[in-house]
């Protein structure tokens, strides 16, 4: 029988805080909201710690819950009637300063304009380096849907980048 893994909450926070925060920030496009989501996700982890069976399970659980809570936060924000576009513009200004490459910053801005499902699939694919099967498991979505999200999202992002970044380079 394998030795039982004993999760240490503080170690888990240390290990995964960047991942959780990055996922939330890329899903919401808002640093403040992302930090709030990250805190909520870790508090939820604390109350579900007994159910976590392994480090892999913890990582999977955190990804899944972060994406889900980010989607909830976006939905709440839409319901409250706050213009997402205005928020995105504001937050991109902050991100653009943080990015080392202006092209990278612009690409990240364009990612925020994608539909939620496509954005989640792309973030999990390129930030977390997950396979479509793993993304499907993390999102609780059918594999075909995930593949379609990846394909369409990438196509849309390419198209936006081809148009937008060319102008950006010329303008610079």
């Amino acid at each position: 029988m394998a030795t039982e893994w004993q999760p240490d909450f503080e170690e888990l926070v240390d290990e995964h805080q960047s991942m959780v925060f990055s996922l939330a920030m890329r899903m919401t496009g808002d640093r403040g909201l992302a930090e709030e989501i990250a805190q909520d996700v870790f508090l939820e982890l604390d109350s579900n710690l007994r159910r976590i069976e392994s480090p892999q399970h913890a990582r999977f659980w955190l990804r899944r819950v972060t994406i889900s809570r980010s989607a909830d936060a976006l939905r709440r924000r839409r319901v409250r009637g706050i213009s997402l576009w205005v928020r995105i513009e504001e937050n991109h200004a902050v991100q653009a300063e943080e990015q080392s490459s202006p092209l990278g910053a612009r690409l990240e801005q364009l990612l925020q304009t994608l539909p939620e499902g496509q954005r989640a699939a792309l973030v999990l694919r390129y930030q977390e380096d997950l396979t479509p099967e793993e993304i499907a498991a993390a999102l609780g979505a059918p594999l075909a849907t995930v593949k379609s999200h990846l394909q369409r999202g990438l196509k849309l992002l390419r198209a936006k980048a081809a148009h937008d970044l060319k102008e950006y380079v010329r303008g610079a």
Binding site: F9, E10, V13, D14, Q17, S18, M19, V20, F21, S22, M25, R26, R31, E35, A38, Q39, F42, L43, D46, E98, Q99, S101, L103, G104, L107, E108, L111, L122, V123, Y126, Q127, D129, L154, L157, R158, A161, A162, L165, K166
Partner: protein, 117 residues
């Protein structure tokens, strides 16, 4: 973007979407909120515990008081039954005594009449 750049698009996206460091102090804030939640939960549990204990004590006292009332009523009924029984016995004894006295009086009267005749 030029076509060769678009070929590198996924690679570029991977670079752009690297994990960003969490804001400084995130862990501390999480731990603080967790501790605050635990304290609040502990207080809630204690509050409910006290409420349950108080309710249990009140129920026990009310039950005791109710039981005491029932016992008193039972004792009263028993005493009443015993008094009635004692009264019945006394009444029967008095009746017998009265009969005996009447019989005695009658025999005395009869004897006097016999002596006068």
């Amino acid at each position: 973007m030029e076509p060769e750049e678009i070929d590198d698009f996924e690679q570029q996206l991977r670079l752009v979407l690297e994990q960003v460091p969490a804001p400084p102090g995130l862990k501390r804030r999480v731990i603080e909120r967790r501790d605050a939640q635990r304290t609040a939960r502990r207080r809630r549990v204690m509050w409910w515990g006290r409420l349950a204990l108080t309710t249990a004590v009140i129920c026990m006292l009310a039950g005791g008081w109710f039981w005491h009332g029932i016992q008193q009523r039972r004792n009263g009924q028993e005493a009443r039954r015993q008094v009635i029984l004692a009264l019945r016995i006394t009444s029967r004894a008095l009746t017998q005594m009265q009969l005996q006295l009447a019989a005695h009086n009658q025999s005395v009267l009869n004897r006097k009449q016999d002596e006068q005749e």
